[in-house]
Symmetry: none
Subunit: 132 residues, 4 copies
DNA sequence: GTGGTCTAGACCACC
DNA sequence: GTGGTCTAGACCACG
């Protein structure tokens, strides 16, 4: 599991960690039952404060994506994959709707938005193919 | 010009004000040269601290959307309308692309996204017609 | 006496009036004893609030450049010309020194400043010859 | 980095702070990447309200001289030094020209101004050597 | 009346 | 600890 965080991009680091772990689970990069890197190890790899990693792991535990194996670390929970997949979809839907909602309230019409959507989609796909 | 702010929705009040004034200018609700409500008046209407309104107006002044008429109030600058319209479009495009970018990186395919887009768009339009 | 004020250039309007009247006196455009336009007339000509003109005249009275002739208006005082000439020079010296002082404290060396002075002087002379 | 502010000299405190930080950056007193004193620390040192310091830092952030490191403080941005050096020079040139412009319009001749310049320069240098 | 500045003190999220 | 936001209330200059 290879995570990458961008400090100071506006999104809290712990939040970036939470999302990326969820993505990794949803994509099957880490399978239920599998042990993930320790707080210390992860903090070292990402050059991040251990407190920050701890916070992310705690939140993932609250959301039942991870559970702790006493003395052995944190492991992906059973059922986490299904949960992450549907979470991802719902979160995305909410964010899309929030953006569109503001756009509509801001006076843009749906057809105009569809154009912008297709353009943005093309950019996003391309940048996904040629990661910076 | 009738603004509405939602406290505690995560977006700072002054930022909400900035956006809404820009939208009002973009939509022509207030025309260049026109004087907008005073800091105190706006603060009273929105039940918000005058300093918060002041901060929003100050930022709009920095962005050359407003300018102050000494002793008479703040007025919409010439050229502000064009600026606000293009700003709105660019901001929206960036936000759309950010969401889509993350979606693509998160493993969703374009057709799936198009579906979600249409659904979100329908919701947004409906909530725009029946404002909460 | 032809004055011109620029609203919203940062310098208070009443201050611009004070300076310009002093310049006019220093240059001999208006002579001691001569009556200057009334507050109302001046305010009308410059499209300015009469209170603002009043304030400027009051200050000029305090500085003994003008004095009021009961029922006939304000007139230039005897000795005002000499005073205005020397005031102008002293004010200018102070401002020059303030700028240079900050420049020195800001780390620029005298030779560098001399260059900038000559360049600025050339610009100022040129813009004085071809008034905008 | 040792700043000093003069309350009630007409220039807003936050503006004095902005200028002095820029000077410090231009002079290399603080290098890009370096973390500057926190809002609270600076406020304590200068016996000024933290909000006032905050406002100055915010403006410096808008001008891309500083950027915030979440939870760690404010740091000087890369490229800030070059920017500050050229800003300083341009600002000074503008102010010099403004003063000279008014002097010319006020009827003083260039040679007279050169004399005044040299005298003011001497004073400024001396006061720079024996700081009050 | 207007905008502009400043103080005092509070709460929050983040590291 | 840090920066960021907000409130409350004050004073000033300007028109």
């Amino acid at each position: 599991m290879q995570l990458s965080i961008e400090p100071n991009n506006g999104i809290p680091i712990y939040e970036q960690l939470v999302r990326q772990v969820k993505y990794a689970v949803a994509e099957g990069v880490v399978a239920p039952g599998q042990v993930i890197p320790s707080v210390r190890e992860m903090a070292r790899q990402l050059a991040v404060n251990p407190n920050t990693v701890q916070r992310a792991y705690l939140q993932l535990q609250d959301e039942e994506v991870l559970h702790s194996l006493r003395g052995r670390g944190m492991a992906v929970s059973t059922g986490a994959k299904r949960k992450c997949v549907s979470d991802r979809q719902q979160l995305l839907a909410e964010r899309l709707e929030a953006v569109l909602d503001e756009a509509i309230r801001g006076g843009l019409d749906p057809d105009r938005l569809r154009d912008m959507f297709e353009k943005a989609l093309k950019n996003a796909v391309r940048s996904g193919e040629n990661p910076t």
